[in-house]
């Protein structure tokens, strides 16, 4: 039966999240290349968290909090929306949300790619540590707050305080930016930036095409890197 991918379905109308996650926590060798389908997720929390194998998981509906958290190697596709903290602290692999995502999507992600086809809520990519995030829609306030490394491509708008206290992460925004956070600044797009946006958009595979040259680059002005004793310390 070479070439046939083995598929396992968990129906959360009759099975538990623990059964699903225990199945997904088998040794990586057992799971590699397999496909797992989650039917009737009904907004359950903690779906497909802590994966550490190149397995493909499809969630057929809306996910609750922390879906695909701490992901390594796995590909998790959420066909509906995702609640707070989707793909938080992802290490590698890919998480793809076809609907919208709530707050703190991709928080502290160290690696991997998070794709959100719709809008993302507040604090998307907060404290990003090396992961990549592509948002087809807009992001809420305080996105990329204190983001240390990694890249974010935002095809829609950004709300208030984008990139506040950002370190070495780089953000690309196509739409309007309501306001930049402290120490975030718009910088010229280089040909390397355009190539980066093109590469990330290609990886994300969004349905809508976007011109990579139409994005703006936001990065740190690095004025907060060192303590300034002369600065006005009133706040």
């Amino acid at each position: 039966m070479e070439g046939v991918i083995e598929m396992t379905t968990f129906d959360l109308a009759t099975q538990t999240v623990r059964e699903l996650n225990q199945h997904l926590h088998q040794p990586a060798g057992e799971l590699a290349g397999r496909e797992v389908v989650v039917a009737n997720p009904n907004g359950a929390h903690n779906l497909a968290v802590g994966l550490n194998a190149p397995v493909h998981v499809t969630v057929q509906g809306h996910a609750g909090y922390y879906a695909a958290g701490m992901n390594q190697l796995a590909t998790v596709v959420i066909e509906g929306s995702a609640g707070t903290g989707v793909a938080e602290n992802m290490m590698s692999g890919r998480v793809h949300v076809k609907g919208f995502a709530s707050n703190a999507a991709g928080a502290t992600a160290h690696g991997g790619l998070l794709v959100i086809e719709g809008d993302a809520g507040l604090r998307c990519g907060i404290s990003l540590k090396g992961g990549d995030i592509v948002v087809g829609g807009s992001v809420g306030s305080f996105s990329a707050f204190m983001a240390q490394a990694g890249r974010m491509v935002i095809c829609g708008d950004a709300a208030d305080a984008l990139g506040d206290s950002i370190y070495e992460a780089v953000l690309y925004v196509k739409g309007e930016i309501k306001s930049l956070g402290a120490d975030a600044q718009i910088e010229p797009m280089t040909s390397a930036d355009i190539a980066t946006v093109a590469e990330l958009l290609k990886s994300a595979g969004l349905k809508t095409a976007h011109d990579p040259a139409a994005f703006r680059r936001i990065a740190s002005a690095r004025t907060l890197y060192h303590w300034n004793a002369d600065a006005d310390q009133d706040y």
């Binding site: 009737n40 907004g43 359950a44 929390h45 809306h62 609750g64 929306s81 919208f100 809520g121 507040l122």
Partner: protein, 303 residues
């Protein structure tokens, strides 16, 4: 943590199913609020000369054995124009009167100081009590409630004690109620503004401050959007607030969206809950327009 649910049916035929559609929503929010639950349901309004008061006797010595019939007899003897009647279930009764409710409330406070007046109005019935959402729903037979819209809450207390009067919804004035997920950081500041205006507080609960503030603004002539805009300026802290009036549901979230909310809308209903899992079992949910309300925006749905 707390759970919020709201439901507004758009088709008259669904009024009979309002309670049955809501109960799974309330149960779905048990993990967010296992210590108390409550519900305000809005139905057909009484005529302009009548008012109904939802009363709770659980804090009286008689509890669920409270003598509702004797109360009605005594009230009618003292205030014949009231033509009072009561529909009682255990420790809860809906008292209907044919007079201005203010003297009736004064009479109740005087004669039965431990009786708690849960709500007053022409459209609102209110139930709230301690216990799991499942226990409270069964105690008051929520599944058979009828009406056009409702506001429900499951409580995990953080700001004040677990008692029936501190459960949500809170009410103020007539046909107005509010439920809250979150915690306000300036409830005493709000109270200190309202108390000199003669506004009385029943509890030390932070949510009551938000409820009385918004009702005060509405009573003072603000329309709902204006009152809600003032709330953004006045209320500090974390909140998702869901409010019910005789003909509207309204939702706001604090600017930081610290507390969750989800909305599902179909041709049949608008359903609101803290999390999608409380909406997952509604009919037609797979084809509903599901969205997350934005922070510092007003959402108002008309019944």
């Amino acid at each position: 943590m707390c759970g919020i649910v709201g439901l507004l049916v758009k088709k008259p035929a669904l009024k009979d199913q309002l309670g049955a559609l809501m109960v799974p929503m309330l149960l779905g929010m048990t993990e967010r609020g296992p210590d108390s639950a409550g519900l305000a349901v809005f139905g057909e309004a009484l005529d302009a000369g009548h008012r109904k008061l939802s009363l709770y006797s659980g804090l009286t010595a008689e509890g669920s054995q409270f003598g509702w019939a004797a109360l009605v007899t005594a009230l009618n003897a003292d205030m014949p124009a009231a033509r009072a009647s009561a529909h009682a279930t255990g420790n809860h009764a809906v008292l209907t009167v044919a007079v201005d409710p203010t003297p009736v409330k004064d009479w109740l406070h005087e004669q039965h100081p431990k009786l708690h007046i849960l709500s007053t109005g022409r459209s609102i019935d209110l139930y709230k009590d301690i216990g799991t959402p499942g226990e409270v729903a069964a105690r008051y037979d929520f599944a058979h409630l009828r009406g056009t819209h409702l506001v429900g809450h499951t409580r995990m207390a953080t700001e004040s004690a677990v008692t029936p009067d501190r459960a949500h919804p809170f009410t103020a004035g007539e046909d107005f109620c509010l439920v809250h997920n979150g915690s306000l950081s300036n409830p005493y500041g709000v109270r200190r503004k309202l108390e000199p205006l003669g506004i009385h507080f029943d509890t030390d609960n932070d949510t009551e401050a938000a409820c009385r503030f918004i009702e005060w603004r509405l009573r003072d002539g603000d329309d709902l959007p204006t009152a809600l805009q003032r709330s953004f300026d006045e209320l500090d802290g974390f909140y998702t607030l869901l409010m019910g009036t005789a003909d509207q549901l309204a939702l706001i979230r604090d600017p930081f969206a610290c507390k969750p909310a989800m909305v599902a809308e179909t041709d049949d209903y608008v359903a609101i809950a803290s999390e999608f899992r409380a909406l997952a079992h509604l009919p037609g949910i797979n084809h509903a327009n599901v969205f997350e309300p934005a922070p510092e925006e007003m959402y108002v749905w008309k019944a």
